[in-house]
């Protein structure tokens, strides 16, 4: 057990820190949260800078356009960028954290060459077409149908909670290629397709969240024709391919945010000291406890990364443990923030309020806490399946 950085890791961190100090002041002003074209352009600009400086796809394989660095270096990257207040992955979230790693792991050489470089350069934005109306966390209950017609699939159905659909170029789409009947389990017969968002028959209708923004959308698919060559993995094998994607999502997708929460806690402590709430032991101890919890969550991240590094890169079920603990701690953080700020928490600047409201989605998105507990109980603890 060793937390001492190697000489190489130390050098990488120092170089990155220097680079961040140089480029961050050059960035344009942040667009408003509801200006989606503006947000896309801003996020693409940041991704392009990362790409040009050799920081894009750090832990992706070299033949997928990445740098082939270990996950530890990726962790240092996330820690340093967040510490410096660099832009978050934003509109490139799905491409960089879900679809990209899936294509890198499961796609053909041709597919990797077609889709991965534009993701790394920030040229193409992806969205996730997994969830369906009425299906909720029961991902395998999807009904969107794909019927083979020569070299194309003809897709009809609808999707919901499709993040960044408004500005996306591609969608990682789950479709049903074999109908469910009494003899086949419903997770068989699902296929993973890359769908161009400008294909005829695709209609996007933005949904307004409780935070007031249009983070995600409903998507209607009416006889959309998708080339068979856009299929990643075998036909009817999409469930397994998806599990690869989801293990990435649960394994590393929230890592940068833990660092952000630790920074936020520090800000809260200073605010409490300035406004007198620090003198209240209830407030002080709540802050102290969260400081301990987020510190431990950061160590858990390093632990999970160490584990996945030893097992060859694919994150394990430990991601569910992390997600459960983190999503609840994040909500707790904003409750304590309200304790520190009192009525002032009602009149904060926009970013604070948005973060507080968005924290409510963390125990729902990417599999609810209840579903995560089932995963932990059945796959890690080996308890019997049931309901």
């Amino acid at each position: 057990m060793d937390l001492t950085p190697t000489e190489e890791e130390r050098e990488f961190r120092a170089r990155l820190r220097e680079w961040l100090a140089k480029v961050l002041p050059e960035l344009p002003a942040k667009p408003s949260p509801d200006d989606w074209p503006g947000r896309r352009a801003y996020d693409a600009g940041w991704q392009r800078r990362l790409y040009d400086a050799g920081y894009a796809g750090l832990h992706w394989p070299v033949d997928a356009g990445g740098q082939g660095a270990g996950p530890t270096r990726h962790l240092i990257f996330l820690e340093e960028t967040e510490r410096a207040g660099a832009p978050y992955v934003g509109a490139n979230f799905v491409g960089l954290l879900h679809a990209g790693p899936t294509i890198a792991a499961e796609g053909t050489a041709e597919q990797r060459a077609r889709w991965l470089p534009p993701v790394l350069r920030g040229d193409e934005v992806w969205c996730q077409g997994f969830s369906e109306p009425g299906a909720g966390s029961d991902l395998a209950a999807l009904r969107t149908r794909a019927v083979r017609d020569g070299d194309e699939y003809v897709v009809t159905g609808s999707k919901i909670w499709t993040s960044h659909a408004e500005v996306a170029d591609w969608c990682e789409l789950l479709v049903r290629t074999t109908p469910v009947d009494a003899d086949t389990p419903k997770h068989r017969g699902i296929t993973w397709l890359a769908m161009p968002m400008d294909a005829p028959g695709v209609t996007v209708r933005p949904l307004r969240t409780l935070a007031g923004s249009t983070e995600f959308a409903e998507m209607f698919l009416d006889e959309v024709r998708i080339p068979v060559g856009h299929r990643v993995g075998a036909e009817d094998d999409g469930w397994r391919v998806t599990m690869v994607t989801l293990s990435f999502e649960r394994g590393t997708a929230f890592v940068g945010e833990v660092v952000a929460c630790r920074r936020t806690l520090g800000e809260l402590a200073r605010t409490a000291k300035a406004n007198g709430r620090w003198d209240d032991p209830v407030v002080r101890r709540a802050l102290g406890r969260l400081h301990g919890e987020f510190g431990a969550l950061w160590r858990l991240t390093q632990w999970n990364v160490g584990e996945s590094e030893r097992s060859g890169g694919v994150p394990g079920t430990g991601g569910s443990v992390f997600k459960l603990a983190y999503s609840h701690a994040r909500q707790e953080l904003y409750d304590v923030a309200a304790l520190v700020l009192g009525a002032g928490s009602l009149a904060l600047d926009e970013e604070w309020v948005l973060d507080r409201l968005s924290s409510l989605s963390y125990t729902i998105a990417a599999g609810t806490s209840q579903i995560q507990r089932n995963i932990v109980a059945e796959r890690i603890l080996g308890l019997p399946k049931g309901r």
């Binding site: 101890r285 510190g295 431990a296 390093q302 632990w303 160490g306 584990e307 995560q372 089932n374 080996g382």
Partner: protein, 300 residues
Amino acid sequence: MDFQPTEEQRDLRAGVRGLLAARYGREALRASVESEVCVDRDLWRRLGDAGFFALRLPEAEGGVGLGLPEAVLVFEEAGRALVPGPLVATHLAAGTVPGAAAGTAVVTASDLDGSLVAHWGEADAVLGLPGFASTPAEPVRSADPLTPLHRVASAPVPGAHRDEGALLTAALQVGSALRTLELAVRYAGEREQFGRPIGAFQAVKHLCAEMLVRAEVARTAVYAAAVTGDPGETAAAKLLADEAAVRNARDCLQVHGGMGFTWEADVHLHLKRAWVRAEQWRTAAEAEELLATDLLEGAV
């Protein structure tokens, strides 16, 4: 950076687990409860022979020359087996109190707030309190049948060992939290109700899943604190491990239903010990205050 146990560390842990399984299994545990003999001198010596107490003593002084990361791994195992006695204090006394390193002496410490001291009557020495034998002490009925208590007029908390004592105690708590999780999972898989194992019900599953989350977060915190030696991380480790041990024991009891409320089930022993340890070396309130200061000073 490779935050994973090395091959040697895994072997060490497995060795201690094997030793304790052979020497202090369930029957031995229940026998201690019945006999009210908490410190088994023979086991103590065997632990000493295995290097449990001399683990961090330099080789030149007859020790094993290992560090805190190795110590937390073996203490985790002792916590899992629920070995009674002042393990932490004796380990801390190795090198200063004769016989502690070899396990021929039992050394306790006044690590509880107030005037209560654990294992006073069974101890050969009290850490940092020479001439303790002449100090008047009165036995007090203890919540934990395997942690006898005495009330003494004045018992100074050994400040010098506070952080290490807290960390090793946290490691014991983590072992206990993992053990009660195991007990709960095993029972949930065996016990049938309404025609199926109770572990198939989400309500039970979710209790067990939360137990694992608590134990894993606490375990990582303990390992990290052992590696860095940072006082803030140590406080966090104690805070999270105390909570994991106490709450996991409680949830384990809940999973066992009425059986869990009986004297025959082991779970009450874990719960009562977890309560004792939560009061030792550093309490939750102290840990939170320390962490708050750490947060404010670190905030730039």
